[in-house]
């Protein structure tokens, strides 16, 4: 072996060893940092926030915190005539009070009377799992009040399903929120990030043993057929599967949402119910939405397909603020099982999840879409 090649081999070996050491060191450092930030949040001076409760017709409970953003404290220098004020909230949960394993409240933003700038809507749907929370059972996140030109957008409320609301305990506000090491930090539990490349292609919604449930599937199933579909993109659903879908930059509205995000409502049922605002230049319209189907908590929906290019979302929701979804963003065959959480009428939908900033192609097949019942 040439001398230079031996040196190269040694260098290569050293590089690999260094990378492994760096990986473990960074992992340790990151965990330590996160723990520090959370400790700081917990130890910081806070006050309990009082709130008003509103019940609506859909059995949702909305809490409207009082006395937030009393004084609009301008932070930093305004950019493009935009001013911001921030508060930091801690939600104390208590899963012992409710029979749920997970909750998905909606953090909602609103606008002042004459404001119409929908770009100032920073709503988000949270997803909290009981077993991923620390013993203190808290989640924390910042909220914003933004003024831009003559428009105001601000945090308004947190909306729970009625039976989820029982898991909610208290809400606190941090007094010196700008002292947190990283001001935009939100925390919803403990779980390490995963890289898609190493992610399995089996997905699930609900708390169950995936393989165990799949084994129990029998021939006793109901195919979701064409007549149970409420809407399908360009009526692309045929009698026989697989259903093939091809998209290329096609959005629901004529409006170009690069200029007018959050202005289009047409064929965007899933995203609107999710409550999270539209990303700029995104294509997130529905591809398939079923009619309301009555299902019980022994039912499972099984979906299998093949993603050639792009990204899709599989969503399940009802009209009572129940919403769960998963993103399919890894190319290749995929299988998903959704456990129906309680007896009710649900809709299942498949929606686009692409963005013109990341290229606009969506190309996939749905091979199976069935409802199973395990007794």
């Amino acid at each position: 072996m040439k001398k230079t090649n031996s040196i190269n081999l040694i260098l290569l070996f050293l590089c690999l060893i260094s990378l492994i050491i760096i990986f473990f060191f960074f992992s340790y450092l990151q965990n330590k940092n996160i723990t520090k930030i959370i400790e700081k949040i917990l130890k910081s001076e806070k006050s309990e926030v009082s709130y008003t409760i509103i019940n609506d017709n859909h059995e949702n409970v909305t809490i409207l915190p009082n006395k937030l953003f009393n004084e609009f404290q301008i932070i930093g220098d305004p950019i493009h005539n935009q001013y911001v004020s921030q508060e930091y909230l801690i939600l104390k949960l208590n899963f012992k009070n409710c029979k749920k394993n997970s909750i998905s409240p909606l953090v909602s933003y609103a606008f002042s009377e004459n404001s119409s700038n929908k770009r100032l809507d920073f709503s988000r749907r949270l997803f909290v799992k009981k077993d991923q929370l620390s013993s203190s059972q808290i989640i924390s996140f910042p909220i914003y009040y933004t003024k831009k030109d003559d428009h105001d957008g601000f945090f308004r409320s947190i909306k729970f399903q009625k039976n989820e609301f029982e898991c909610f305990d208290k809400i606190y506000q941090i007094k010196n929120n700008l002292d947190i090491n990283i001001n935009s930090f939100s925390y919803f539990g403990t779980k390490s990030p995963e890289l898609l490349l190493f992610k399995r292609n089996n997905f699930q919604i609900g708390n169950f043993d995936y393989n165990n449930v799949k084994k129990k599937f029998n021939s006793n199933f109901e195919n979701i057929s064409k007549n149970q579909i409420n809407y399908s993109y360009k009526d692309s659903i045929k009698l026989k599967k697989p259903w093939k879908f091809l998209f290329h930059s096609e959005r629901s509205c004529e409006l170009n949402n690069c200029s007018f995000p959050n202005s289009c409502k047409k064929n965007r049922k899933s995203v609107l119910i999710e409550g999270t605002p539209e990303q700029v230049c995104s294509i997130d319209n529905d591809i398939v939405v079923t009619k309301k189907i009555y299902m019980n908590n022994k039912n499972y929906i099984y979906i299998s397909g093949n993603l050639i290019a792009g990204q899709i979302k599989l969503n399940i929701f009802n009209e009572k603020n129940f919403f769960r979804n998963i993103k399919i963003n890894k190319k290749g065959k995929f299988e998903t099982i959704i456990k129906i959480p309680f007896d009710d009428k649900f809709r299942f939908s498949i929606s686009n999840n692409i963005n013109l900033y990341n290229y606009s192609e969506n190309h996939f097949y749905i091979n199976d879409l069935k409802i199973f019942s395990l007794n």
């Binding site: 930030i37 950019i79 990283i182 990030p193 890289l195 898609l196 096609e250 990303q279 900033y357 990341n358």
Partner: protein, 461 residues
Amino acid sequence: MRILTNYLIKYFNFASYFFLFLIILTVDYFIFRKFLGTNRLINIFCATIHSFISIWAIRIYLKDISLKNYFASSDEVFIFIKKYSEEFFLLISLFFVSFLIGIIYFDYIYDHNLTNLFYERTTLVALPKIINPLNDLIVGLIFSSTCVFCYLVLRSAFISKYIALILTFYFISSPTNIYNLIPSPFRDYFKATIIFFILIFFINLIKNRKNISNEKIFIFFISFGIFFGLWIRSDFLIYVPLFVFFLIFNEIKKGSNFSATSLFQNIFPFLILCLPHIIAQLEMVGDNFAIASSFIITQNHSLGIENGLYDSGYIFIDEYLRNLINIDKDYTFSNIVYFPLDFLQKILATQINVLNLSFKFSLPPPGLYNEMIDIFYMARFASLSFLHNIILIVFYICILILIFKKPQTGFMISLLFIFIISYPLIQNQIRHYFYIEIISLWSVGYIIETITTKLRDNEKN
């Protein structure tokens, strides 16, 4: 013909410097306008002074270098053309094919009013109204220049001509390449042309051994490319430290001849050229929210990272991102410091994402509805898609082979390529990095090249 060639050799230097002067003057005029205001006379005056100084600096730097050093007479020019006639033919064919594709697609989209299928440009760069009718020709020219430069980058990086030609045709037909031509041809797309231009000279500078004239020409073209690029987009700033790093390497590789004076001499024309850019950058107040967008969870999802149960931002809307950086001036830095593992993971995910670009998409560019085109793209996809995700491994194998074959050159080219596939971490929209599929195509070409050379050697033995 002979007389014309002799004239060309005789007046080449003068013509080149005059042409350079005009380009520098044009760029300067617009740069000075940024910080001197809109007074036309003052801008023209300052631009002219700076252009003269720049030409003086370039002339000093490139003294003793002339076309005559390479071609003493017209005969030598003809011998050169004859020797490389095949390559010239390929280049001309590539140019015309890509020129036609660029023009036809651009006209088709605008004639059918299909621009809503594309992302919306953030900054409008329009040509003067008087040359509006020539828009499509200029777009075609930019597209074809990019494709020709793509071929030259591949050729510079050890790919033989026919493999480079096939790979360039893959690049020409790439849906993402064609897609990005439409929304912002004179800014976002043109950036790719200049980056390819710079890359050619970066690679040749690394490969160059002891030929001082060539070294100076390569350094000058890189300097000029960055100077011109900074006019188009300020992102070219990230190439400045890379350029300085390579200049230092260039001196180190000379061994005992390392000289700080020589390093300064090499960087001097660049500093003189870029002086207005430096002042403009100091004057500009950027809000950098585009970089901040790399650290929100939306970007993680695009890169295929399943997030932990924490985040430091969640919506890709300019107003939200401005809030983040307004509240935390060190938003980007804090993210790297507090979440170093996430950052490392993002670098890897970015590399995978960028390298997969060529192997991801199966449909024709938006707006084209034709059965034949569909079939062509299906076949194109079928010929490439098996490399999806595997390309990361192929790329690193190529890097290793290159380092083992040519340690010094290989190491520097590897660094350059790794830098290029990693920097979309902070430039996360496809318009900023679509052209990087050249690195995937290079990996495919280089591995084929290595295998065929090995087989040929075995046959000989």
